[in-house]
């Protein structure tokens, strides 16, 4: 097991390095730069800016000094657009926000999705099943950019219960709408995966054996069916968790959370090379980490898998 984890970590390093190099090159290939703006800058001003941010250096030099900055000082450089801030500061401000609403959304999505899917499968082809399937299809087809404005109209404008946007760590009323908007479609996907996987497990030999032994229904489900049925859900959860905690640009835009999702999209549109690289590396590293965690959890749940 330890050897396996070490091996995976060893592979992760060149993977990240390739990610950095590819993103860096792609980014520089896009037309325009961080200082391209409506009012074209005089050549001299542009030259001063390029010199200050090292953009006058050859690409290979930029990329090596960038990687060296990260390795040696964990320094992702200054933002090219938000000039009073470093990339570290931007991530330090935005990531805790998305981590909070994304983490809660994850818990809500997993708990609600698994319950809904499992109940639908157990009560297959009954009114409860149709109801559960109906909810999950409804949640899936309602995009969050439609749901977000509706939530604000209902809970802020009409009912006046919740603030229409913004973020306060100290006040959970700011968290509720982002969590609803972010978690529903994930919940729906989890419910559908769970339902079909549970149906398959319920028809398998070991469940028939368990029932034949005369075990009570709830024991069959909770002890023998739930664990194997969760396997496909878990492989979905790794990337889903990363996507949720690194934020959603829609949630950030509609609820003005100041999260990292909006920063990521903005950095691409603004050609803010440094922020774009910083968030890409963050998302890349988290994806690698959670894929590893998923594989470890797999081994723990499914005794057939051994590393």
């Amino acid at each position: 097991m330890i050897v396996y984890i070490l091996k995976r970590v060893a592979i992760a390093i060149p993977t990240l390095l390739l990610l950095i190099i590819f993103s860096f090159l792609l980014m520089h290939a896009a037309p325009g730069g961080p200082f391209t703006q409506e009012r074209e800058l005089p050549a001299q001003v542009l030259a001063n800016l390029n010199a200050k941010y090292g953009l006058d250096q050859p690409l290979w030099k930029q990329i090596t000094s960038y990687i060296w900055g990260i390795v040696a000082h964990f320094d992702f450089g200054p933002s090219f657009v938000y000039k009073d801030r470093t990339v570290n500061e931007i991530i330090a401000q935005g990531f805790p926000v998305t981590l909070t609403y994304g983490g809660i959304s994850f818990l809500v999505a997993v708990f609600a999705g698994v319950t809904l899917g499992a109940v639908a499968a157990v009560k297959h082809n009954t009114i409860i099943d149709y109801f559960a399937v109906g909810i999950s299809i409804g949640a899936q087809v309602l995009p969050n950019f439609v749901m977000a404005p509706i939530l604000v109209i209902v809970f802020t404008l009409i009912l006046g219960w919740l603030p229409g946007g913004g973020w306060r760590f100290s006040d959970p009323s700011f968290w509720i709408m982002p969590v609803i908007a972010l978690s529903t479609s994930y919940m729906a996907s989890i419910a559908r995966i769970m339902r079909s996987s549970m149906l398959e497990v319920l028809n398998s030999n070991h469940i028939r054996t368990a029932r034949a032994k005369g075990l009570p229904g709830h024991r069959v489900i909770l002890r023998h069916a739930l664990k194997p049925a969760l396997l496909p859900v878990i492989s979905y959860l790794g990337p889903a968790f990363v996507a949720m905690i690194t934020g959603s640009v829609i949630v950030d835009i509609y609820f003005s959370t100041g999260g990292i999702g909006k920063a990521f999209v903005d950095s691409a549109l603004n050609r803010d090379y440094a922020v774009m690289m910083g968030v890409t590396i963050l998302v890349g590293a988290l994806t690698i980490l959670f894929n590893l965690i998923v594989d470890i959890v797999y081994g723990w749940i499914d005794p057939k898998i051994r590393y």
Partner: protein, 536 residues
């Protein structure tokens, strides 16, 4: 002998208390809640006066800092840190007399040296300010050479005669020089604070500022909070105790939150003004705003051959039905335009432009005639492309233009592109027609008209006209430049290097209990210290 300008006289007049800060009519009952919450579309990119480039950033900076002059509700200059100035006979040396009671938020006096440092910093290549060109635009002696690194910043034409006297030397006389001093990039900053904290000096805990407010919180892309400054020289007359800017990236969402009472001012999304005006007549407002919307035409070597023919350019402009754009698409009180300079610009006299008086039928008929003369028509169609950046209104206007041009035999292909790509193509003359908008830096027509000179850095369509250049050069020293501006606009109407479409309006919902916002200032410059909230 030195000439006391009209402005100095105005300063003396203004020295009566009522003219300063919030100007509240007698008998007004003020609300207990003196806070003002306004909308920001985007995250504030920088709180550093010499680094900021955005309109929204400037709105914040005007509350945190104070420059030599401010604007009143009508856009006229009123004293800021400078009480008055003298101008030398040759029009090249300005001597500003600074207000002795002005202090920074840490209690130290605001001195002429703070301005010298700030201005040198703006031009200094080490600062790498995107607005370094503004010092050149102001014609301050040696600004361009300093930005080019040929001279040290200390050679800039600005010096402190004593703590409260600032002398500025410019290269050519500029009649509108004082107007340019309202711009945020000329605001003073503190050398000791910047040297102590570096780029972190704009953090709330480090910032020392000299405006009516101090920065209390800045969460990037979420909010900006400002508290009334106790040390501001006119704090006694500043009524609003707290200002909040909330970043909301979606305009419709911002409107919902305004209607829920979370904001005091928000922009009205395109097309919704008539409905909101009917529903909230006291809150929906539309005021002229200094920006001009055009389709720029590429006259450079890389541009299409057809656009080098003035008849084609005129035909396209005549065929553009601006009334449909403003009345049916935008619907927010914008004005159809047939010229370049925004109609409400201070002192600007709208020139007589022949085709502005024709009916659209007449214009379209003339367009067909001109195009036929140039050899194009339904039988021999002209293929052109129009580039525009991603935005709902731009898209609607582009689709409309496509329809207006079709009967002429002009096939317009629409190219929607992301902002940076659009800008990059435009600046590399890689376009036929391109959507463009220019907003005035100061309230005077030259901020527009300089754009189309051959030596302007922004003239992306490469319209080069010697007569136009000569007129614009002459206007810099003329006692009254307005007749020259009229001539310049006439040349643009004759040569038609672009299609004028409309002049902007600022279309906003403003809470009915908020008073003191500018009503007649086309720059829409506002100051928190002028505002107050009345009891409802």
């Amino acid at each position: 002998m030195k000439l006391t300008t009209a402005l100095s006289a105005l300063a003396i007049l203004a020295a009566t208390p009522a003219a300063f800060a919030a100007d509240i009519p007698e008998g007004t009952v003020l609300s207990e809640n003196q806070t003002y919450t306004f909308w920001l579309l985007d995250a504030i990119k920088s709180m550093d006066p010499q680094i900021n480039t955005d309109v929204e950033g400037s709105d914040i900076l005007r509350n945190l800092f104070e420059g030599l002059y401010n604007e009143d509700a009508k856009g006229d200059l009123i004293p800021g840190v400078a009480l008055s100035h003298d101008l030398s006979d040759d029009g090249l040396t300005y001597t500003f007399h600074l207000r002795p009671e002005a202090v920074w938020s840490d209690g130290k006096p605001v001195t002429a040296g703070d301005f010298v440092y700030a201005w040198q910093r703006l031009a200094d290549p080490a600062t790498a300010s995107e607005y370094a060109w503004y010092m050149e635009l102001m014609q301050v002696v040696n600004a361009s050479k300093i930005t080019a690194g040929e001279l040290p910043p200390s050679d800039l034409g600005v010096k402190a005669i004593d703590d409260h006297t600032l002398e500025v030397t410019i290269e050519t006389p500029l009649p509108y020089f004082p107007q340019m001093l309202v711009h945020g990039s000329t605001f003073p900053v503190r050398q000791d604070v910047i040297e102590a904290f570096g780029a972190d000096w704009t953090k709330p805990e480090n910032m020392v500022s000299n405006g009516a407010y101090t920065l209390s919180e800045h969460i990037l892309g979420e909010r900006v909070e400002m508290d009334k400054s106790a040390t501001y020289w006119d704090a006694d007359k500043t009524v609003m105790t707290h200002l909040t800017g909330l970043t909301i990236n979606d305009n419709n969402q911002a409107l919902t939150r305004y209607l829920a009472g979370e904001l005091d001012r928000v922009q009205i999304p395109a097309g919704q003004y008539p409905r909101l005006k009917a529903e909230y007549p006291d809150e929906a407002t539309s005021l002229p705003y200094s920006c001009s919307y055009i389709y720029n035409m590429n006259l450079s070597e890389k541009g299409p051959e057809a656009l080098k023919d003035v008849r084609v350019r005129k035909a396209l402009s005549y065929a553009m039905n601006r009334d449909i754009v403003v009345d049916n698409i935008l619907q927010g009180g914008q004005r159809a335009s047939y010229n370049w300079t925004h109609w409400a610009t201070a002192g600007f006299v709208m020139p007589e432009i022949d085709y502005s008086h024709w009916t659209q039928e007449e214009r379209t008929a003339k367009a067909k005639e001109l195009l036929a003369e140039a050899g194009y028509g339904p039988e021999n169609p002209l293929d052109l492309t129009l580039n525009y950046n991603t935005d709902d209104s731009h898209k609607k206007i582009a689709i409309a233009a496509q329809q207006f041009f079709k009967p002429l035999g002009v096939n317009l292909t629409l190219n929607n592109m992301e902002w940076k790509v659009h800008t990059d193509r435009m600046q590399n003359q890689d376009f036929d027609l391109a959507r463009y908008a220019w907003c005035g830096d100061y309230n005077e027509a030259s901020t527009y008209l300089d754009f189309f000179t051959s030596y302007s850095g922004h003239n992306n369509g490469h319209f080069f006209n010697d007569e136009y250049d000569a007129i614009m050069k002459e206007s810099k020293t003329a006692a009254d430049p307005q007749p020259l501006y009229t001539q310049a606009e006439q040349i643009l109407a004759t040569e038609m290097p672009f299609i004028p479409i409309y002049h902007y309006a600022k279309v906003d919902m403003i809470a009915s209990d908020i008073k003191g916002l500018p009503t007649e200032n086309v720059m829409q410059t506002w100051y928190g210290r002028d505002l107050y909230r009345v009891a409802e």
